[in-house]
Symmetry: C2
Subunit: 345 residues, 2 copies
């Protein structure tokens, strides 16, 4: 490992540290009236629009493993995770706050890497950092992100609006982030026993990127607006297709049928699954952290949705009493479960 400069957090003090970390974050949005440096941020919500707000926390050892998760990527990923919930409501993210709990063992340079990733994501997504604090924690790194956004009332999409016969659409492909994590975990186990380690990631770079640096689907919200499509319901795919679809169905009081052979799975996802003797469908259903969007539209909008060129229709909404099912190519119905492989009935 290369030798790096190591500055102790205590040498800067709390205010010095915050100043250092946030000095590259000049506000980009005119709606951000006061970003950092006061008791609270002040934000103008565009006239005729509502404010949206969501909070997520990330714990070292639970949500990420710093032995292989580069802090710059982690900074990017927590922004994606934070604003993904706003995109799932069809809103425009505009500000975030980031609170850190850090143990004394983390040097200032590591936090600078983290903030570099946050800054990169903010710039890319036109977000302003409008607050947060850095505090001592007794153990590992804890990151809490609050994301703020806005949308006209009539464009806000809830989980609860799916209707009978609506089409179930998803963006991108599923299971890649989970397989990326499996790859990193495998290398961690292997390299623990090797003197001069060189990880074997060749051919699986896409999986690593999907796990370490997932991109928020801001493009989908923009494309839906462009095509004047307002989904009837939407949720982001953070817990896995099965769990998230079931949540949407629970909120909308409906059931669903999705078709196994329509679930988009990337070539690298299937290839690594095969190598690890795993099932790529399980990764797609239960892996989570894809940060893709799942939404429903009326059957009449099928053509319009396909024109987006960004989504796959994987099934349709059924009556609540029928439950949520995965249909296999041979026509079997498998009941979806939030965790583990679906149960054949």
């Amino acid at each position: 490992m290369e030798t790096k400069k190591r500055t102790e957090i205590a040498s800067l003090g709390q205010f010095g540290l915050i100043d250092l970390l946030t000095r590259d974050f000049a506000p980009q949005n005119p709606q951000t009236l006061c970003a950092t440096g006061d008791d609270a941020a002040v934000i103008a919500v565009p006239e005729g629009e509502e404010l949206l707000c969501t909070t997520d926390s990330f714990y070292e050892g639970v949500d990420f493993d710093l032995t292989y998760f580069p802090l710059k990527h982690l900074g990017y990923k927590i922004v994606t995770a934070g604003i993904s919930d706003l995109l799932a409501m069809n809103a425009t993210p505009s500000q975030i706050t980031v609170s850190l709990g850090v143990s004394a063992k983390i040097p200032v340079e590591a936090l600078q890497d983290l903030y570099e990733g946050i800054a990169f994501a903010c710039k890319e997504q036109r977000l302003d950092l409008v607050g947060g604090d850095t505090r001592a924690s007794m153990t590992g790194l804890v990151i809490s992100v609050t994301a703020l956004g806005h949308a006209p009332k009539e464009r806000i999409v809830y989980r609860r609006g799916a209707q009978l016969h609506d089409l179930i659409c998803i963006t991108g492909n599923l299971g890649a982030a989970y397989m990326g994590l499996q790859l990193l975990e495998r290398e961690k186990r292997v390299l623990a026993d090797v003197a001069d380690p060189e990880p074997q990631f060749k051919g699986y770079e896409y999986l690593l990127e999907r796990y370490l640096k997932p991109r928020p689907r801001t493009d989908i919200v923009a494309a839906l607006a462009e095509e004047k499509i307002v989904p009837t319901a939407m949720i982001d795919l953070s817990d896995g297709l099965a769990s998230d679809l079931m949540q949407l169905c629970r909120s909308s009081h409906c059931g669903a049928r999705i078709y196994l052979d329509r679930i988009p799975i990337a070539r690298q996802t299937s290839a690594l699954a095969e190598e690890l003797h795993a099932d790529p469908v399980v990764a797609a259903l239960n892996g989570g952290e894809d940060y893709e969007l799942l939404f429903t539209v009326p059957l009449s909008m099928q053509e319009q949705v396909m024109r987006l060129g960004l989504v796959d229709v994987i099934g349709h909404i059924t009556a609540e009493s029928t439950g949520c099912y995965l249909v296999t190519p041979d026509g079997s119905d498998i009941k979806l479960r939030a965790q583990g492989f679906p149960e054949q009935e």
Copy 2:
């Protein structure tokens, strides 16, 4: 210790737990269009007003010690701490989100106590709980609070507006929360060696309440509005009078002179300080967690401010070049420092 029912978090699952904890939180504000149960909260900001947002985190072992901090009080206190930053901007708090990181050792009943305290504070302050999550943490309890509020643009008060000769006003009295903490820490040390412990808090109940269950100064914001007073600058007293005054001065590019004999200190604060051979002025200057407000008004408003009956004028704003000083009754000037006792020059 009494025997309590103990339900494991794992027995409820993540969604079951959140449902259980938040079921008593029906929104009270018509501005809260969507509180919990979706990807994000949706909030209508009153027409002609701006949104204010602030985030705070609290770590077990750093910010609170569960061996003597009742969870119900902790729930109340984190709401006070969260909205105190909004009050310091002269805004009306309206919503909060609460994210928890909990270790498996914490039973569901303990989290219910915590949420009971949060619910009590929300009801008292007319706040809606609009989100948050509960996640596993590797160690102790981590609580992250985001508070949202609103205010007409012309009534928002920043740290940066203090002017030469302005009066420095503070609400309530200082140092009581810190002495409450000292009392609890002393009892913890004493009781560790005793078989049948009975803590000695008699005569110091007020100090315990100030530390364990501080009330947010919502009444001050209301009183200022009633009297049509808009302070030139304001900050909440969470880090201690010295540190917070110096921050306000740094933002306003000014200095300050405050008078030792005008700093309001409660009788119990002085009494316990004497018993512990401590200086109550140090508690007031550096103790922190008082959650009182410090604000400045033009000299011409002295009578109007005194009419509030809620504040003490403890000094005045000076030129930036003169720095921040505490003036003792014998006329000595002592330079304020953020930590530790001020330095005589």
